[in-house]
Amino acid sequence: MRISINHVTKEFGRFAALDDVSLEIGSGQLVALLGPSGSGKTTLLRSIAGLEQPSAGEILFDGEDVSSLSVGERRIGFAFQSYALFRHMTVLNNVSFGLKVRPRRTRPPRAEIRKRATELLELVQLGGLENRFPSQLSGGQRQRVALARALAIEPRVLLLDEPFGALDAKVRKELRRWLRQLHDQLGLTTVFVTHDQEEALELADQVVVMSQGKIEQVGTPVEVYEDPSTAFVSEFLGAVNTFPCTLDDGIAEVLGTEFPVEPLDTEGPQHRHGPAVAYVRTHEIELLSRERQEGVPAIVRAIFPFGGGIRVELAVEGYDMPVQAEVPRAFFESGELRINSGLYVRATNARVFPIDRV
């Protein structure tokens, strides 16, 4: 099912949680709403679900305005961050709840309900746990029960609020892969909220980056990562260093190399002179040996030799804050990298945004 969000605003008192947000979600897509806390991502998800009533704007499901439909009438499957399983009901009763509460004329017979709930539990790989209570399950199992319960009403769209937020790192990754498989298997339009960029980038077809009640950028994971359109997205995605710099005719010097200012998406005058900020990812900082005398002198302050890329913390001449770099393991193993040793650094890439003078 296609979801259209047209100029939706949601105010809580004087605070605008959503500020004139418009978004198209294609049928069958897996979409991530990504942003820090307070960015409005959960409010947007709850507005789609019908758990919040927007102050202005409209939400369409397949072109039909659902603004006046209650959450129960919208036929959405909603999974809560805290799972919200009914603690006094068994797993089977939790999953069959949505079918049992239907009015008599649309309610399937008892045996049919039981059969469908059992099938759904098989689908989420929880067969055999029908008679357990939620308190007897692990976090990952609870999340899958919540998903099975949401799927039981045959929803038109699946809405997930921080689906992996309360799980430990290992389970989180497993469940992430599993959710992707489930989505591909069911083909259901799915929207999930997350503050974890890795989760959004690895799992979603489309990533919607949000900040302060507005959408900053919409695109595929590669698009938003490789080509961030705003300073916020540049800073939010990936491990990034922030360098203050100065624009001179659209060019800024960052760690000894010149980079052009990012083109503006919107209409209006582009600042080509004045203060700017450059965002350089950790792997875009190159370490050079002393002999080459290129770039900017730096001193190694700390080394974190874990994983394929080695993270290095540097004190760079002319910059107050420490600079983080990521270098290949081979460089670390060559023995050139030692704490307090001097070398040179250079930026291989940078995204430069002018600081708007308001």
Partner: protein, 285 residues
């Protein structure tokens, strides 16, 4: 204990201090709780078991027991409904004047029971317009069962609501939202989700409410009129008998109240032991 005696244990008080504190608590408990309780039964049984049951079977005593039960049977369900409605409103919705409502629910706790009775006398008494109108239409509220029920309901109002509000607030609204998103109606959500989530806290509140409804003296005394065999509840009957130097009778009825209190205590202990984690305020009482 043995280890603590060997040397000074830095994490706790010395054995002497502990013994003194525990001893003090036990002596206090004996003096103020156990001794009076024993005395009630001793006095009631002073002239033997026969006299005890004779005193209880006396028509006025039976009538007092019937009246007390009648009042409790009406007042407690009323407060279950009011308490559920109030705590549902306060815990699950945000609205203007919520804090005022919370303070109002506590009002019966802070007002003297005599005042709680007096308000009904002022409202329905013969010198009030409403009272005169009721008298003209032959509707008896004061010095009759309706007055007793009103006074008891007022005094016992906070028990159920106070027990439910903290628990419902702690549980939040996501369970209800989940039920609604699955297509349940408001009533189905309440019946299948909200109520089961608070059932033990509700039972606890009902228990405390019942205990207070049975034992209430002050407010009931003001509106009762003390008509023997008609408007005397058990606590009032005890007072009358005592004032008439009918000690066996007074203590016999009092012993029934004491027994009810012991049963309440037992049930309360079981609830706290078995479902303590589901009683939000179990530490308060």
């Amino acid at each position: 204990m043995a280890e603590a005696l060997k040397g000074r244990n830095p994490v706790t008080e010395g054995p002497l201090t502990r013994a003194a504190l525990i001893g003090l608590a036990i002596v206090f408990l004996l003096l103020f709780l156990i001794v009076p309780l024993v005395l009630v039964f001793a006095e009631a049984l002073r002239n033997g078991v026969g006299a005890y049951f004779e005193a209880l079977a006396e028509p006025d005593a039976l009538s007092a027991m019937r009246l007390t039960i009648t009042v409790a049977v009406i007042a407690v369900p009323l407060n279950v409904v009011f308490g559920l409605a109030a705590s549902w409103a306060i815990a699950k919705f945000s609205f203007r004047g919520k804090n005022l409502l919370l303070s109002l629910i506590d009002l019966p706790f802070s007002v003297s029971p005599v005042i709680s009775g007096l308000v009904w006398v002022l409202l329905f008494g013969s010198h009030a317009a409403l009272g005169r109108w009721l008298a003209e239409n032959d509707i008896q509220i004061l010095f009759a069962v309706p007055g007793l029920v009103l006074a008891t309901t007022f005094v016992t109002f906070p028990f159920v609501a106070r027990e439910l509000i903290p628990l419902m607030q702690e549980q939040g609204t996501t369970d209800e939202e989940a039920a609604l998103s699955l297509g349940a109606s408001g009533w189905q959500t309440f019946w299948h989700v909200t109520l089961p989530n608070v059932r033990w806290a509700l039972a606890y509140g009902v228990l405390l409410c019942t205990a207070r409804a049975i034992g209430e003296f002050g407010a009931v005394s003001v509106v009762s009129g003390h008509i023997r065999g008609q408007t005397n509840t058990m606590p009032l009957h005890v007072e009358i008998l005592y004032n008439e130097y009918s000690f066996v009778g007074a203590f016999a009825v009092a012993s029934v109240l004491a027994l009810l209190a012991l049963v309440t205590l037992g049930v309360k202990a079981v609830l706290e032991w078995r479902y303590g984690n589901q009683l939000a305020s179990s530490h308060r009482h």
